[in-house]
């Protein structure tokens, strides 16, 4: 009984997804939608198979931009978030600056960076960096400044020094909020890379989508979109895995809280 239930839950999503693809396939026949407007899923698969090497190479290109931009953002934003949280001066100067910059759509900078730096990897990495940087800093700041009054006082009453208090209380207490930023950034990283490629590039999945659409080959464009979706899922999956490894307690706590 339990086993069939679990099986039912596991297959529910794949079955539903497959159903959507079938509905897509059928509606094209029913509504007689021409191929150059919307291809069938089967046509997308056939077209993609014929272009596998290039699609894979471009996935690596876009993936590299995404992962590099994300990694650099993480390495810069996390320490900066910490510094802002623990320095009153930075909290009054850098922090409000970042909050106002957060309102600017980062992607608006893309044409400028590309005009400065050309069609290569660097401007894309910078765009992805910008897209990921803000959610990571802002959530890190929020995480590190929001320690409860009770825990702050408890820690003080033990006489613990800065470092001990940091590693035993402040850091673990801030991690769940930090991960909100990590995950949000992971979801948007490949968006940044794709749009940067639209604006100026000679390779990558975004570039491929533009070329295919220009050539009236939406089937190929959809194949690239599918790969971009996989790339985004992969990023998000990795961060979720890290979350599961680093703060399993937060996940169990959320699960229990959610149940009652």
């Amino acid at each position: 009984m339990r086993r069939t239930q679990r099986f039912g839950r596991a297959v529910a999503f794949p079955l539903f997804f497959l159903g959507l693809l079938v509905a897509w396939e059928l509606s094209i026949t029913v509504f007689k939608i021409p191929r150059y407007i919307l291809p069938r899923p089967t046509e997308v698969a056939v077209a993609a198979r014929a272009d596998v090497p290039l699609l894979l190479r471009y996935t690596v290109v876009t993936g590299t931009e995404t992962v590099l931009g994300y990694a650099v953002a993480l390495v810069v934003a996390l320490p900066l978030g910490l510094a802002i949280a623990f320095s009153g001066l930075l909290r009054r100067t850098v922090y409000p600056t970042l909050v106002s910059l957060e309102m600017v759509p980062k992607i608006a900078f893309a044409p400028i960076f590309i005009s400065w730096l050309g069609f290569g990897l660097l401007p894309k990495v910078i765009i992805v960096f910008l897209v990921c940087f803000f959610p990571i800093v802002l959530n890190a700041v929020a995480g590190f400044v929001s320690l409860s009054e009770e825990l702050t006082r408890f820690t003080r009453a033990t006489g613990a020094g800065t470092w001990r208090a940091f590693f035993k209380i402040r850091l673990p207490a801030a991690l769940p909020q930090c991960f909100v930023g990590f995950k949000y950034a992971a979801m948007n990283a490949s968006v940044g890379a794709t749009i940067a490629e639209f604006i100026g590039s000679d390779q990558g999945l975004g570039f491929y989508i533009q070329i295919s659409t220009g050539n009236m080959r939406p089937d190929l464009a959809f194949a690239a979109i599918f790969l971009l979706a996989l790339l985004g899922l992969g990023m998000f999956g990795l961060v979720t895995l890290a979350e599961r490894l680093l703060i399993p307690w937060d996940i169990s706590q959320r699960r229990i809280r959610g149940k009652n």
């Binding site: 408890f154 006489g159 307690w249 937060d250 169990s252």
Partner: protein, 254 residues
């Protein structure tokens, strides 16, 4: 010389709407080994007073001394149970108790036996390896109590530790609390708004007036220990409860 000497202590908070007179002036003397309850209506400054005794807040006026020395900064020789417990979700019950020791730079391995005894006393030994969020509210408060006691504090400050619990659980933890105090005779200051709780547990009850809290009176509770159900049903117990109740009735609080 009293163990804790609270002299003409006043606390004002500066807020956006101007200063708030939260507490005092009040003078209270606590002897070593006493169990003292602070009873008063919500907002009269009881938590504020506990924080000042712990050195976590400075009085605006007057002074607090411990064994003749004025409290000038955060004291590290107290055990505090805050109104919201300080159990962290990333550690099991046992590791939460050890946290108190680790933050003090002590090796918790040296205190295994003591932690076991504490857990045994409050009936949590089977839950030592559970996370706090897997425990009921009453169990969490018991765990928080162990956390506040494990470093053998000189003074224990309890801020409405049983406030959010159901009546039955409250009775049980009161009994645990009393047993532990009778064993250790640590100085305890308990903030509560339950008059019965104060009479049952305390050697002395301080009645605090509505905000800004002042000391209305001190009542010594001369009832035999341990104060179990038979004591609670005695006419003497009832007399203490109504005596304190009358005071709050006069203030229009009940």
């Amino acid at each position: 010389m009293p163990h804790i000497d609270i002299r003409n202590v006043v606390k004002r908070f500066d807020t956006a709407d101007g200063p708030v007179h939260a507490f005092g002036p009040a003078t209270i003397a606590v002897e070593r080994g006493e169990f003292v309850s602070l009873v008063g209506p919500s907002g009269c400054g009881k938590s504020t007073l506990l924080l000042m005794i712990a050195g976590l807040l400075a009085p605006s006026d007057g002074s607090i001394s411990v064994d003749g020395r004025i409290v000038a900064g955060t004291r590290t020789d107290v055990g505090i149970m805050f109104q919201d417990n300080t159990l962290v979700p990333w550690r099991s019950v046992r590791r939460n108790i050890e946290l108190q020791l680790e933050l003090r730079g002590m090796d918790p391995r040296g205190s295994r036996a003591r932690i076991d005894t504490l857990l045994e006393t409050v009936g949590l030994h089977d839950f030592a390896n559970r996370a706090p969020f897997e425990l009921s509210g009453g169990m969490q408060q018991r765990a928080a109590f162990c956390q506040a006691m494990v470093h053998e504090p000189d003074t224990v400050l309890l801020d409405e530790p049983l406030g959010k619990l159901d009546a039955m659980t409250r009775e049980k933890i009161r009994a645990d609390l009393q047993r532990l105090w009778l064993q250790t005779r640590t100085t305890v200051l308990l903030v509560t708004h339950s008059i019965e709780e104060a009479v049952q547990l305390s050697s002395k009850v301080c009645i605090i007036t509505p905000r800004p809290g002042r000391l209305d009176g001190v009542i010594d509770i001369n009832l035999p220990w341990p104060r179990d159900i038979t004591v609670k049903r005695s006419p003497e117990f009832a007399a203490y409860v109504s005596e304190i109740g009358d005071v709050f009735h006069r203030y229009g609080e009940i």
